[in-house]
């Protein structure tokens, strides 16, 4: 599909269209549905190639505006993780903020040290870089765009500061992070059109899905329509940071947790058949997730209850007989903007749709980390 006379609808428009015309008609009339999400995506980062200094250096420790970047990739490449922190400033500033500064066109201080070798004699450098000076600047996120996610609340007597935001005591509020019915993977529950090689909107540029996201876990319980009721799939994505925009790449701070990167992702879903149309017709009242008590310091927290995204979006849910106000951590406003931009680009022929080079495996399982002996690990 390469533009021209394709019929493209945003996810919300398509759901409305199905309500009015039914699945069969919608499947025939519509070619592509555009989805979008903008939220905190912690497992993000960027790698850079800085170019060679004279005399050259094989950097072993690297800091970008004081934030450590990983440099064990030979001479002048480094990976800056979004959640990496400058530990001297109360977890307010991290890799995510440096990535945003670069996208804004700012210059960033690069410091590096090295042991010095015969081929790379230099032992340190202190300079400035920007997206104009580096060879490559590539956003490479290993786990983004979760297909569904938990709802967090807090039954303890003190405020908790978490990656799910500020959780008030005594079930004072509940936060959720999925964009629900407009979120990409919730419209393609079995990853039929989203796979390795899928072209996507990433941070304002065009990027690609390169692999399943880490912790990919398709085997969770699903609704009769196949929509996962727990965090399931995710995607690893890549794109050229030099072409991204600060509107869609944003450094975030979660108090007493640290930094995270706000990333805008949009995925077009071709309506291949009626089944695909049915998947894209899913609405917030059909998407279920579970509420967990984040004051339980364990990886296997009890499910307090299941809720739909329609309930979450109503602004209040009931937990243990108490009315609990809800907050989203992902921006519906920006998700809608992304779906619209993607739709316009496809209609104008500026965004080509490709079939995945390879689909994700549905057999992946999500294993825990236990303290075990060498023998048990084998």
């Amino acid at each position: 599909m390469a533009g021209g006379d394709v019929v493209v609808m945003t996810a919300e428009e398509f759901k409305e269209h199905v309500r009015a015309n039914g699945i069969r008609k919608a499947a025939k009339e519509v070619d592509v549905v555009t989805t979008g999400t903008f939220g905190a995506m912690c497992s993000s980062g960027a790698y850079f190639n800085f170019g060679h200094a004279d005399p050259p250096i094989k950097m072993s420790k690297v800091w970008l505006d004081g934030i450590p970047a990983y440099a064990g990739l030979a001479a002048v490449d480094a990976y800056l993780g979004a959640t990496e922190l400058d530990e001297s400033n109360n977890m307010l500033h991290g890799g995510a903020h440096v990535i945003e500064d670069l996208v804004r066109g700012k210059a960033v201080r690069l410091r590096a040290t090295a042991l010095g070798t015969d081929c790379y004699p230099r032992k340190d450098i202190d300079t400035y870089i920007s997206l104009k000076t580096v060879n490559q600047a590539v956003l490479f996120n290993v786990r983004n765009c979760y297909q569904n996610y938990a709802v967090a609340t807090n039954s303890s007597s003190r405020t908790l500061y978490t990656y799910m935001g500020k959780l008030l005591p005594e079930l004072g509020n509940a936060t959720f992070s999925s964009a629900g019915e407009v979120s990409p993977l919730l419209n393609d529950p079995y990853y039929r059109s989203i796979g390795i090689g899928t072209r996507i909107f990433l941070g304002g540029a065009q990027g690609f899905v390169v692999w399943e996201g880490t912790q990919f876990n398709p085997g969770v319980p699903r609704t009769p329509d196949g929509v996962p009721k727990r965090p399931a799939g995710s995607i690893a994505v890549i794109g050229d940071l030099k072409q991204m925009s600060p509107e869609w790449i944003k450094g975030l701070t979660f108090t007493r947790y640290g930094a995270s990167l706000g990333v805008g992702i949009g995925v077009p879903i071709p309506i291949l058949d009626e089944e695909m149309a049915k998947s894209c017709a899913v609405t917030n009242n059909q998407i279920v997730t579970a509420v967990f008590d984040y004051s339980q310091p364990t990886r296997s927290r009890n499910v307090l209850r299941e809720v739909t995204y329609a309930e979450l979006r109503s602004g209040e849910i009931e937990v243990k007989g108490k009315k609990v106000p809800t907050s989203s951590l992902s921006s519906l406003y920006k998700a809608r903007q992304i779906s619209q931009i993607l739709k316009n680009q496809i209609v104008k022929g500026e965004f080509a749709l490709d079939r995945p080079v390879q689909n994700f495996s549905l057999d992946r399982v999500f294993r825990p980390l236990d303290v075990r002996s060498e023998r048990e690990a084998m």
Binding site: F38, K166, L252, G315, L329, L332
Partner: protein
Amino acid sequence: MKTKVVLNFSPEAVNNPITHSLIVKYHLLVNILRAEIDEIGGKMVLELSGKAEDIRKGIDYLKSSGVGVRPIKEGVRRDDDACTHCGMCVSICPTKALVLDLKTGKVTFDEEKCVACGVCIDACPPRAMEILI
């Protein structure tokens, strides 16, 4: 009418039951938005409601009792360029000054309802909220 004021107390003034006087003598409705007291004195943010004349007299009384009084023009302010409209703030705002409008997808901020409690400040991931007292 209604007005919001910031009061600064010396340690001596801390012992004076000023809110009681504002209520009983000056017939004002007093809503305490913030109160902090330590060894070097205290600070309180009040919303005073009543007749304009009573509010003026009440403020004169505070000043004569050794309490520093200044009006709040702006309590909490939002940087609209930084806000991503995620909605993290809406469930923690005790007065529902911050509300997600599902139609536009945007978080609206009603400054009239804001009592400058400040709970949204450190909860905002893009750090768009700022408190000015």
